[in-house]
Amino acid sequence: MVEAKFLKFDTLSLHAGQQPDKITGARAVPLYQTTSYVFPDVDHAASLFNLERAGHIYSRISNPTVSVFEERMAALENGVGAIATSSGQAALSLAVMTLMDSGGHIVASRNIYGGSHNLFMHTLPRFGISTTLVDPRNPDEFKKAIRPETRLLFSETIGNPGLEILDIPTVSDIASQAGLPLMVDATFSTPYLLKPFDYGANIVMHSATKWIGGHGVAIGGVLIDGGNFNWEGSNNFPNMTEPYEGYHGLDFTEEFGPAAFIMRARAEGLRDFGACMSPQNAFYLIQGLETLPMRMSRHVKNASLVAKFLNEADEVSWVRYPGLENHPDFKLAKKLLPKGAGSIVTFGIRPGSDGARKTGAKFIEALRLFSHLANVGDAKSLVIHPASTTHQQMDEQGLLEAGVKEEMVRLSVGLEDPVDLLSDLRQALRSSQK
């Protein structure tokens, strides 16, 4: 039996989306720092604007450096196409604005990044879009929350910061039975650890700011279309299946088939909302992608060493890492994330005499290698106290529901030598109890 042969993940992360530059022979992806592109003639210009020919017009809509990043992400995710955005939040807004109209409703996991929570609960309602939050550990809640006006199911693959694992196969079945797309924020897993389309998700987004870049030098996001949602069959998405006045009556499904969503998002959302990625940032993020497989395998190795260490430390009252057997989603993580359960570890410090918050603060300030900052996924190890920072806009009830405990410390485990990481944690834990 002959078998189809495709380039493997590590190869794609170095090459996908790029052919060496024909004119200069440049091997690296050149940085096309330009806003616009000279048209050979008037007819050619008109053809490009009218989507009769393929090519670049203006860097808000597309740029050759950015396109390499987009195509590479689509290749790594097994998608049909991608759009790079100015940030992870811009990728989420672009997806929502492409799919939804005023009056629409979203069912979203309750355990998500604080910024996404704000968008759903405080900002989108101003535009007539409401959201019901549900427990991602209980797929049935997604099903029960679906209403006639629901247009999207949303969750993170690994929740920030609670590290809940989404049962993508089950939730994607619920979504497809309801004729709705499932979108996942796969920032914490990256395509190296998990490919959501293989399990039935329809749209994937990343904050590329995190592990995709890995260097912590560029903010960016990316939206990827799985090309596996039946827009026509669902009957819920006139934006995808009816003539669009903003483009001479173009019907995106008729014109682009499986790439309807990503083409609409570019033709409308990037054009009108304009949250494009800069070529410079795409250039940085491409450098990051080249080493994604190597970094991720080291990230998960170090994270599981750190989790095991904390699990045995006296100063620690609880540890949460989906790769630990005591994590409620351990089995699901083994199935969906066989290469490793990411590199975020959260834990609670046993409160000293001056209370949980103070002990946590002492710990964070005593750390020497871990940097205290508001980011994750850097090659360098990072630490933060979510309740007072990333999730501080939430009240006590909201924090509880989002799985953020007062004493919780979140570590983003980097690529340093694990011996140094463990020794830093050991000394800071000791200091925290003094």
């Binding site: 002959v2 189809a4 009769e52 020919r53 393929a54 196409g81 088939g257 499986p258 790439a259």
Partner: protein, 267 residues
């Protein structure tokens, strides 16, 4: 646009312009397991450059109702029925892969009604690998993988698409995966059992373009030579670093070559 034939709805994409029977009619026929969207850019370009384009979805494909026809000759007869329904003008026929065999056969059946013929990714025989035939028969998704792998040229496996942000292997695979059960089997069987290409070539009188990819593993350029030897007026254009999915892999060059050929052929 919808065309009704035998009480079935047949869809033809007109590329963003309403069908105008007074312009030259340019018919685009897709290959096995795909649909009109494979000709997306070409459809839009030619419909905005003086032609009335009909990118037809064959029965059971894309937006067309019905069941797929498992014979090239029968599909060619069916095609004329559809075309006679919309106009009695002469037509330009273009096809890709299985569609190229249908276009060739259709042109041979009514040479006087065909003004020009464009065969993209064509061969004298489109013999399909037995493993692929077997997978398609079982509606096994490995058939989509095999076509995607062999269909796209090696260079296209790296991407670098002309349409920003699109990953063509993913797009091709996703379109094939939309096929209803039995469609791919029927299409591949039709290709495999068709042996009339040389006889058909002898009957064709209009200018014919053979548009090929130098790295095509499904219909390698040398397999079109017997057709060229039997066609009365023909020219061959081989695009470099391209596999079998020519109009997806090099959409702009495909437009340029077709446009230039038609200007000469119709003058």
């Amino acid at each position: 646009m919808d065309i009704h034939i035998n009480n079935l709805r047949i869809f033809a994409h007109t590329g963003g312009k309403p069908f105008d029977p007074n312009k030259p009619i340019f018919v685009l026929i897709h290959g096995a397991g795909t649909d009109h969207t494979f000709w997306g850019l070409q459809t839009r370009y030619f419909s905005h450059h003086g032609y009335s384009v009909l990118a037809i979805d064959l029965p059971g494909h894309g937006r067309s109702e019905g069941v797929p026809i498992d014979s090239i000759e029968e599909t060619a007869l069916w095609l004329w029925k559809v075309l006679d329904q919309v106009s009695y003008r002469n037509v330009i026929l273009a096809g890709h892969s299985m569609g190229s065999l249908i276009a060739l056969e259709a042109a041979s059946k009514r040479p006087d009604d065909t003004d020009a013929l464009i065969l993209v990714g064509v061969a004298e025989r489109v013999a399909v690998h037995s493993d692929l035939l077997a997978a398609a028969k079982k509606n096994d998704s490995t058939a989509f993988d095999m076509i995607t792998d062999w269909g796209f040229g090696q260079k296209s496996h790296l991407g670098g698409h002309q349409s920003p942000g699109l990953w063509m292997l993913g797009g091709g695979r996703a379109l094939l995966a939309e096929c209803s059960a039995g469609v791919l089997d029927s299409d591949l069987s039709a290709c495999h059992s068709y042996i009339g290409a040389i006889e058909a070539s002898k009957k064709i009188s209009c200018p014919t373009l053979l548009l090929l990819g130098d790295k095509d593993r499904m219909t390698p350029p040398k397999m079109s030579v017997p057709l060229k030897e039997n066609l009365r007026i023909s020219e061959t254009k081989v695009l470099s670093d391209v596999g079998h999915m020519i109009m997806i892999e090099k959409p702009n060059e495909t437009i340029d070559v077709m446009d230039e050929f038609l200007r000469r052929a119709l003058s």
